[in-house]
């Protein structure tokens, strides 16, 4: 008990406006705004109403790549320094990447049901994202099977580096697949074989607002997940200290 009292005393008093509080409030503002814009944006010429899911689909997919990149950076950091703090970064990136890529896959699949008449095709992009998702889910399985925190961090790092390098290879390996019908919104070279879809200015604005909203959500989750990781580490350290004291 004495230890806990000391712990509480040593904790810094909560200061007024933390980073995560700011993010949380901007989230509460940006999500309703983004929803409003999504509803106000004009109907797509062909797809009508169903196209609106795209405003959340694209940002989620971009964010999931950012998250997996953060995992990769954490893995490189752990590899070079062996510092525990990198493990917290890795877990946050891994879990959030899976979360957002599931959102991306599910929204895309719902949209595809209306646009293509099927939930799923083996289009190169769809294949790449699904394989990537499976790879990272197996990364979570790996973590779950290890007890020792140091080994957990080390193996997560090894897996993170190999898994990230694998993603472009997966994409190349699918280039022999029949050209899919995944539409491209932004395309520098418009070749006839792929569908390029343009957006009107209001749609771009909506997309921008939705990207900010999803980005904020991601930032909020990331900071909170890392804070949680730090707290977990602290609890583990304290438990270890307490157990050591009793014996």
């Amino acid at each position: 008990m004495a230890t806990i009292a000391k712990y509480n005393a040593s904790r810094p008093a909560k200061t007024g406006l933390g980073f995560s509080t700011i993010i949380m409030w901007s989230l509460l503002v940006s999500w309703p705004v983004s929803l409003l814009f999504v509803l106000l944006a004009g109907d797509d010429a062909i797809l009508k109403y169903s196209q609106r899911i795209f405003y959340y689909h694209l940002p989620s997919n971009i964010v999931c790549f950012i998250a997996f990149f953060i995992y990769f950076v954490g893995a490189i950091g752990y590899w070079r320094t062996r510092k525990r703090s990198w493990d917290i970064v890795m877990v946050a990136g891994l879990e959030l990447g899976i979360f957002f890529s599931v959102i991306g896959v599910v929204t895309g699949s719902i949209w595809a049901r209306y646009a293509w008449g099927t939930f799923w095709t083996w289009d190169p992009r769809l294949t790449t994202v699904s394989i990537m998702l499976v790879v990272y889910i197996s990364g979570v399985m790996l973590r779950a099977a290890i007890d020792d925190p140091t080994r957990k961090a080390a193996l997560t790092a090894v897996f993170g580096i190999i898994g990230f390098v694998n993603v472009p290879l997966v994409f190349f390996s699918t280039r022999w697949f029949p050209k899919g019908q995944h539409p491209l919104i932004f395309s520098s070279t418009s070749n006839g074989s792929e569908t390029t879809v343009g957006l009107d200015p209001f749609m771009y604005l909506t997309l921008g607002i939705c990207s900010v909203a999803v980005g904020l959500l991601f930032t909020y989750f990331l900071t909170e997940r890392m804070r949680l990781g730090q707290m977990q580490d602290e609890v583990a350290a304290r438990r270890l200290a307490l157990e050591g004291g009793e014996n």
Binding site: I131, V158, I161, W176
Partner: protein, 223 residues
């Protein structure tokens, strides 16, 4: 290089004495082939139709028996306590990895050379084509490279051998895609350009995942 050879020779010698890994892999791939033959409708096994599925089945048999062998190669070491000894050896961890990888590669290739003609006979499907050799070689090299480092990782977890396929299959999917495409192109005598692209891809994959695990093996087996 001499250290790589020492690890390799040790594994091969141990295998020659026990024939543990090899027999398990061979029997397993034989059984897998039989299961395919019974599980699939006879219509698909018609000589005209079989070309569409046989390359895929062949690589499924390779992959599954490969996982079996990869697991054994580290479980045997771990259970007999020789893994610690191996890691204590005054050799670079990369060299240990390479030796292990080469011995796994050897066992896998050996099983594949034996099972491929048997597969061809059972499925009425000609698997005899010299261009199949580079395809199988590059594909199996990728298996051995990723499989060896993942097996070393999986052995140190609570799930042990269960975990290896979970980690291994998703990462191997690009190689499996390329290898099955190349195999069906070779065995159907399709133009060589088609095969070449896949071979190049597998070569790139193999080079990347030869260098990376050598660097990372140290971290993977660290106590």
């Amino acid at each position: 290089m001499r250290k790589v050879w020492a690890v390799y020779a040790k594994d091969v010698r141990a295998e020659l004495r026990t024939k543990d890994i090899f027999s398990a892999m061979f029997v397993f791939s034989l059984l897998a082939t039989l299961v395919f033959a019974f599980a699939l409708p006879a219509k698909l096994l018609d000589p005209k139709e079989v070309g569409g599925i046989a390359p895929g089945l062949l690589w499924v048999a390779y992959t599954f028996s490969g996982v079996l062998g990869l697991n054994r190669s580290f479980i045997v070491e771990k259970d007999k306590g020789s893994l610690e000894g191996l890691l204590l050896a005054p050799a670079d961890r990369g060299a240990i990895y390479l030796g292990k990888m080469l011995s796994n590669l050897t066992f896998m290739l050996l099983v594949e050379t034996l099972i491929t003609p048997i597969f061809g006979i059972l499925f009425n499907y000609s698997t005899f084509n010299l261009w199949l050799i580079p395809v199988v070689l590059l594909g199996t090299l990728g298996f051995a490279e990723i499989g060896t480092i993942f097996a070393a990782m999986a052995i140190n977890t609570r799930a042990r051998e269960v975990l290896l396929p979970v980690l291994f299959f998703p990462i191997m999917l690009p190689v499996i895609i390329a290898a099955t495409n190349a195999t069906s192109a070779v065995l159907a005598n399709r133009p060589f350009d088609e095969v070449l692209g896949q071979l190049e891809f597998m070569l790139v994959f193999d080079v990347i995942f030869l260098v990376l695990p050598i660097l990372l093996f140290e971290l993977a087996v660290e106590e």
